[in-house]
């Protein structure tokens, strides 16, 4: 009755939404950056399940890898905690 693929996609999408809200709301910028990497990774799994593997490769390497590194390097030059 319930398609397991649809359930998986919904769980992933809800995780992405909750992680995005947490990344905005938390005062710890480092954990915010890490959580935004989680957003990118789970979004890439959603793309893979929706049969877009090329988008998934790009999203996994850029959204979960490069953006994370760039934000961490930017964070090194500022403070970790948001005022």
């Amino acid at each position: 009755m319930v398609d397991p693929l649809t359930v998986t996609i919904w769980v992933l999408v809800i995780t992405v939404l909750l992680s995005a809200v947490y990344a905005i709301e938390t005062k710890d910028l480092l954990s915010s950056v890490v959580i935004s990497g989680v957003v990118g990774l789970f979004a890439s799994i959603v793309f893979l399940l929706l049969h877009a593997p090329d988008v998934a490769i790009t999203q996994a390497s850029i959204g979960a890898g490069l953006v994370l590194a760039i934000f961490v390097y930017a964070l090194k030059n500022t403070t970790r905690w948001e005022k």
Binding site: D54, T58, S61, I62, G65, A69
Partner: protein, 245 residues
Amino acid sequence: MRRAVSALLALLIFAYLFGVLLKAPIPGDYRDERYNYYSPLSGREANESVPDHYVERGEEETGSQNIVTSIVVLYRGFDTLGEVTVLFTAATGVAFLLSTQRSKGEKEKKKEPNFMASTGVGLVLPFILLVGAYIFVHGHLTPGGGFPGGAVIATGFVLMLVAYPRFQLREKKVSVVEAFSGLAFAVIGLISLIMGLTFLENYLPKGVAGTLLSAGIIPLIYIAIGFKVGSELSAIVSHMKGGEE
């Protein structure tokens, strides 16, 4: 107050976009308005709309097994040149803004590399580079292409920067690679102009779809894009880290 307003605005935009999505045509709905023809390739009725043309005729016209690639590189090749230019502009902007800031982390240079990180990265890095090269060389056969392949290669260099504090990207050499691969893309397009075709039209033999040496100029363009994207993204991260000493 400000938060409430922005949250409301975001919700409104979300509702609007969701409404547009609900009204979007479901694939198959638009068919009856168009002229139908019998496609000898798939042995069924197809119609003359542009998406159907790509799906039905793409492999026959370009020799590329991957339809997405045939659209990105040949049918919409000029757009891809623009995309590469956008990325190039972004990389140039980052380099311009951050290259004056020399790395001040003297103590960071002397920091010993983490044993676990350096060993792990040393083991994994060759495979990451191999996968990246595979993705852009096989862009016309398997999902992926120049942009994903270049991004994977850039991820490998980011791992190097993270694991080995003494590792530095040779920015001069990287920019030489970037410049020549961008030039190669443009020159491949200009050759087809010289041969009397339109810009970025295929002029090499198409070969048998599904083999490595097929699809004419698509593999060449994707190799150029892979090198260009990989070097640009690596250079961006390297500049963000503080640049070459």
